[in-house]
């Protein structure tokens, strides 16, 4: 099964530590050539991420969308579909929830408004996934390609509305949507930026894990993912299964969008959540599409990006230096990872 081929389980602790150390040393040498003290930088990065409550909070905030977009990839992957559509689903979830927040639920109290908002976002993401779903079932067009293409369409769709009817008159000409009313912002922990989004993300991950592992539906999903012919012979309607998983994946991706706008930014920008979908794809891949393993890997990538921001502040190095680290780690993991797999 998928979970057994995971990078996470495949290597002994020793190999993993050697790998991590190797990456640290190579990157440290690189930092040194750039005129920085690598030890100091690693210390700063640790301080900024897991060194204090604020740092842990920032990591949790950053990990939230990664978990959800990774699940948006992992759910269709259970039936053997490769979706790269997290990016577009997130955008559409954010867009539809912004519409809902601005036009419909503006004056709703939190306890109705926020669930409705989450629903609106999930619906937006799901609707966006209907397109590759129908194309897959009716026209037999490969879902990887269509989801990738639709990411761009979604990005421009958001731009169209943000520069058009959703543009706030009070944003001094900036392309922002109107601000969400306070009752529609996700509740945060007193005095911090940490919001309940992380709980939602973890809860969704657990539900997905439970459903795929311990229910009849999940079993049928895995049968389709394992062998389409066997699934057909045992009476499972494969097309329906593929369609449903794509839609559910889309809904989860849409949730990531709502949480980004309502939890952190408070308004929609054209660049809200850009890149998170691809990050989610990588997280899902690293976790072997296992819904629970997605959480630690999302936290790992979140910590690296939060650490990078700290790098910029403390060492004066450009923050893009952390993208180098991220890319480097991913390439090493991929290169060392499962051999003989796909």
């Amino acid at each position: 099964m998928l979970a057994k081929r995971v990078f996470f389980n495949k290597y002994s602790i020793g190999t993993k530590i050697t790998m991590a150390l190797g990456i640290c040393i190579v990157y440290g040498v690189f930092l040194y050539t750039q005129g920085a003290n690598p030890f100091l930088i690693y210390y700063e990065m640790f301080q900024a991420t897991f060194g204090n409550v604020y740092g842990i909070g920032e990591v949790a905030i950053k990990a939230t969308p990664f978990i959800l977009t990774a699940l948006a990839v992992a759910i269709p992957a259970r039936v053997g579909l490769i979706s790269v559509g997290g990016e577009g689903q997130l955008a559409c979830g954010a867009l539809s929830s912004t519409f809902a927040a601005v036009y419909i639920f503006k004056d709703m109290p939190s306890f109705i408004g926020i669930p409705m908002l989450l629903l609106a976002g999930a619906l937006g993401g799901a609707l966006w996934a209907v397109v590759p779903g129908i194309l897959k079932i009716v026209a037999r067009v490969n879902e990887t390609i269509t989801t990738l293409l639709l990411n761009y369409v979604a990005f421009f769709l958001v731009g169209y509305f943000i520069y058009g009817i959703l543009k706030s008159p009070d944003a001094y000409g900036w392309p922002f949507s109107p601000r969400f009313s306070d009752s529609l912002r996700l509740p945060t922990l007193e005095g911090t930026r940490i919001h309940i989004g992380i709980l939602i993300a973890v809860a969704v991950a657990i539900i997905v894990w439970y459903v795929t592992m311990y229910t009849h539906l999940g079993f049928r999903m895995r049968v389709v993912g394992g062998n389409v012919k066997a699934a057909k012979h045992s009476g499972i309607i494969v097309e329906r299964m593929q369609f449903v998983t794509l839609i559910v994946g889309g809904a989860v991706g849409g949730l990531a969008g709502v949480i980004e706008v309502s939890g952190i930014e408070g308004h929609l920008r054209p660049m809200t959540g850009v890149g998170y979908g691809y990050m989610g794809f990588l997280v899902a891949w690293m976790a072997g599409n296992h819904p629970l393993l997605i959480i630690p890997f999302a936290i790992l990538l979140a910590a690296i990006s939060v650490g990078g921001n700290a790098l910029e502040m403390h060492s004066g190095l450009n923050s893009s230096i952390v993208l180098i680290l991220m890319g480097f780690i991913l390439i090493v993991i991929l290169a060392i990872g499962k051999r003989g797999g796909k």
């Binding site: 990887t144 390609i145 769709l157 169209y160 180098i324 990872g337």
Partner: protein, 302 residues
């Protein structure tokens, strides 16, 4: 008429960079490797070319080294997916992130710098032909090269021995193996050549099109180039056409807005992507799937 000429001229100007990537990807994907890292190759090429041109003053050094740095980026991709057998899509994305990071970091000192690079040259006689002359023959040298490149790649792919071997590698590598060639070696070469093309495309973007460098200058053009290959059903001439179509939609927006038409450019930007999906549906309808067999494995059971 002036309007049409202007749009078509700019379509070619804006589409050339994507065209390089896309034609390079045709070569790579024909061998059975899809390289989403072309975006990274393109960025590396754009920055290297820009830096070298600014440093030496000779844009040809820039183009050569831009191509080489693009090839080096794709060499990483080739190593990870061919030798180490990793997932091609995930690796491509990782290379893309790596390229974005490394170029944003090393490029930060080149922002706000303007270079002359390649200027448009009007070809003698040809550029005097009405309409066609001004559309096709008022461009920079890299654009002319891209026009030459397409038939060359076409001839290579479809009428040379090595072209057959390359395509066979993408379809049935055991045949190539039986023929006494190493499929992996051919894939390496194809991917690296594709990366070289992407690097040159990036170079065209930074030293001939925009004459400046900014962070993430490609803005997804590399990924678009990769997708266009699918749109083009793995044929170089159609890939170039797709690139011009992409450039055209951008040129149309600029021209219309320059004439005071007020409308959202975003809807127009979507067109190439939606068109690609429509083409895919139509291709699928005919029951003819031109995707190389080896790529079908990458995309699961299709």
């Amino acid at each position: 008429m002036i309007f049409v000429t202007e749009v078509l001229t700019n379509a070619i100007r804006a589409g050339t960079a994507v065209g390089y990537v896309s034609v390079g990807e045709v070569i790579g994907q024909r061998s059975g490797v899809i390289n989403l890292g072309a975006e990274g190759s393109m960025l590396a090429g754009a920055l290297t070319a820009f830096a070298l041109t600014a440093w030496t003053g000779n844009p040809w050094y820039g183009v050569m080294c831009g191509g080489i740095s693009g090839a080096l980026m794709s060499l990483i991709h080739a190593f990870v997916v061919i030798t180490r057998n990793a997932n091609q899509l995930a690796t491509g994305l990782a290379i893309m992130f790596f390229g974005q990071g490394i170029t944003a970091y090393f490029g930060s000192s080149y922002v706000n710098l303007q270079i002359s690079g390649f200027e448009p040259i009007a070809l003698p006689f040809l550029s005097d032909i009405p309409i066609i002359g001004s559309i096709f023959f008022h461009h920079d040298i890299l654009t002319y090269l891209s026009m030459l490149m397409v038939p060359l790649v076409w001839v290579f792919l479809f009428s040379t021995k090595w072209g057959v071997i390359l395509r066979a590698t993408g379809e049935r590598d055991e045949v190539v193996y039986a023929h006494g060639k190493s499929p992996n070696c051919i894939r390496y070469m194809a991917v690296v050549v594709g990366g070289f093309f992407a690097g040159v495309g990036g170079a065209q973007l930074s030293i001939a099109f925009s004459h400046s460098w900014m962070e993430n200058i490609t803005q997804g053009r590399g990924l678009i180039g990769v997708i266009l290959v699918i749109f083009a059903s793995w044929r170089p001439e159609r890939a170039m056409l797709g690139a011009y179509l992409f450039g055209g939609s951008q040129a149309l927006i600029v021209s219309l807005q320059g004439r005071g038409y007020n409308f959202s450019s975003f809807l127009l930007f979507m067109i190439p992507y939606i068109l690609t999906i429509v083409v895919l549906v139509m291709v699928e309808r005919t029951g003819w799937n031109p995707m190389p067999e080896a790529l079908k494995k990458v995309f699961g059971r299709g």
